[in-house]
């Protein structure tokens, strides 16, 4: 068993960095695999090289990552940037490709900390250049420091939307309109959750502050938007939208949308782990215990990949996973067991107090997946909502059947972008919730590989390189 590490952490975002640092500090042999060139994940992307102006614009929520990354760099955790993990086996075998060459390594435990992605919601024209996810423009700014030079239209719902509007305005980007798709009735239906959220009034005030900031800029702000689409010939030229029953049009060079974020379940699906459906935020999440352990025992999930809780909870969840694993390896000092674990749990519970309110407030609107028949759902294979509905009419009911019939989910992204929408569209045809359907199967390799990356795998020994 010479090639075995104590823990392999996949992902170097808030949860992964926290888990790796904590585990390494307890004396565990830790390997971190991350596909990005530098640590930070999406939230703290490129933070080590961020200039003072970037830090100022992105504010304390971003610069919090500085100390996290610094502690990680000082720890004994081994870090392999640019590593694309393409298979994980239930026994802790992890396969990854780096610089075009594949390796295999085995962990006594594996912590999957790959976080979340923006919910991909198809709409007419979303495949035009000039249409991006809000998260995409945020990542581009963190990575390059560049900002859009043409007027931007932003649509969707959720706290991240307001945050990005704030960032873009402080960068001097011209925003022609904000299209808010949050159902107006959510404010009322979220009220029962408000008392719990008042435990963290600072969070609520911060959210309110973001909203007021957007109002103060005087940007046209449309509430109750129920549909939007992008138009143009080979590139975005115009956005149209329906707000309170009226159709509007606005010229735009860049259209950014955001309908919330969802856990990335690529690996947990690959591993065949149990998933549950969250009816409020409408996403699947892998089932874990309070330390992130799955029913498999070897595989842990930390951070937003387990459930969407945000950055600070991800850091806490990462630490909890590390401590639980240390305990299983008999490397956790008794004092930590008595103190550190309960303290972290208490901190996490306080952080999560506002979450049910925020989730209810930004519950996706009902018509989110009323996708028109001509709209491309699977971007890779250009399968439309009409193709999917046709397959349903022909007697199909399961996403995997429809994939086989239409190629929806069979392209480069392997169904990551269309899998959720496919299930929602089918469920809509049957008046069901997607939880009653079986989501797309995920098989290894979960990333595009060359044949040599697939056939020549080097077994990594447990030695310092």
């Amino acid at each position: 068993m010479g090639g075995q590490r104590d823990v392999i952490v996949i992902g170097a975002g808030p949860a992964g960095l926290s888990a790796a640092t904590r585990a390494a500090d307890l004396g565990l042999d830790v390997l971190v695999l991350d596909e990005q060139p530098a640590p930070g994940g999406q939230l703290y992307r490129n933070i080590e090289r961020a200039g003072a102006d970037t830090l100022q614009i992105l504010g304390p929520d971003y610069s919090l990552g500085l100390s996290l990354v610094e502690k990680f760099r000082k720890s004994a955790a081994q870090y392999q940037a640019g590593s694309i993990v393409w298979n994980i086996e239930p026994n802790g075998n992890v396969y990854f490709s780096q610089g075009g060459r594949s390796s295999q390594v085995r962990g006594k435990f594996v912590i999957i900390a790959i976080g979340a992605m923006e919910r991909a919601v198809p709409f007419s024209g979303w495949n035009l250049p000039g249409v991006m996810g809000v998260g995409g423009i945020d990542a581009n700014f963190k990575s390059s420091g560049t900002v859009p030079d043409s007027p931007v239209v932003i649509a969707g719902s959720g706290p991240l939307l307001l945050l990005i509007v704030g960032h873009l305005t402080s960068l001097g980007v011209e925003i022609s309109a904000v299209l808010d798709t949050t159902p107006i009735g959510n404010m009322v239906s979220a009220l029962p959750q408000l008392p719990g959220a008042l435990r963290r009034i600072d969070y609520l005030l911060k959210g309110l502050g973001m909203l007021l900031n957007v109002k103060r800029t005087g940007i046209p702000y449309h509430r109750g938007v129920t549909a939007y689409s992008a138009h143009g010939n080979g590139r975005l030229e115009r956005v149209s939208f329906t707000a309170k029953g009226n159709i509007h049009r606005v010229e735009s060079g860049l259209f950014l949308t955001h309908e919330g974020i969802v856990p990335r379940c690529d690996f947990t699906r690959l591993l065949g782990l149990l998933h549950r459906w969250d009816p409020v935020q409408r996403y699947w999440y892998p089932q874990t215990n309070q330390y992130g352990a799955t029913e498999n025992g070897v595989i842990y999930i930390a951070g937003d990949g387990a459930f969407i809780h945000g950055g600070i909870p991800a850091i806490l969840k990462g630490a909890l996973a590390a401590l639980d694993i240390a305990e299983k390896l008999n490397l956790l000092p008794a004092s930590d067991k008595a103190d550190a674990i309960p303290r972290l749990e208490k901190e996490l519970s306080a952080e999560l107090a506002p979450r049910p309110f925020v989730d209810a407030l930004y519950k996706p609107h009902q018509g989110l997946y009323n996708v028109s028949n001509e709209t491309v759902v699977c971007r890779c294979e250009e399968v439309t909502a009409g193709d999917i509905r046709q397959a349903v009419e022909e007697g199909c009911r399961e996403p995997n059947e429809i994939k086989a019939l239409t190629r929806c989910g069979m392209g480069h992204c392997q169904g990551r972008m269309c899998g959720g929408a496919l299930a929602e569209i089918i469920a809509g045809e049957f008046n069901l919730e997607p939880e009653h359907l079986r989501p797309l199967n995920i098989r290894a390799p979960v990333r595009n590989l060359s044949l040599s990356e697939l056939s020549e795998v080097v077994l990594l020994e447990n030695s310092d390189q």
């Binding site: 075009g100 992605m117 250009e382 990551r416 595009n448």
Partner: protein, 91 residues
């Protein structure tokens, strides 16, 4: 900001900060209209998610097709080409 490196995109030389991803470099230097053509219909596509999920940013780097431009950083002398249709083909 740190150093800049020279990369080549579709034959044109670009000077970009060495911390940029390939996708960011192309988008901010004249490649915003498209980064590839869909192999199915040939329609123009550009990076969408910027975080390794959507695979809309696939480019050819130094002769190797299907490289994810949004998670690969620029390097001095890197040669990048748009992927037009199926990888390896010129159509």
């Amino acid at each position: 900001m740190g150093r800049t490196v020279a990369i080549e995109f579709e034959g044109a030389t670009l000077q970009v900060p060495d911390t940029m991803t390939v996708a960011a470099a192309i988008l901010s230097h004249g490649g915003k209209n498209h980064i590839r053509l869909s192999p199915v219909s040939g329609e123009k596509r550009a990076p969408y998610c910027f975080m390794g999920v959507c695979h809309e940013c696939l480019v050819e780097i130094d002769g190797a097709p299907n490289q994810q431009a949004c998670i690969i950083e620029v390097r001095e002398g890197m040669k990048i080409r748009r992927q037009l249709g199926l990888p390896g083909g010129d159509e």
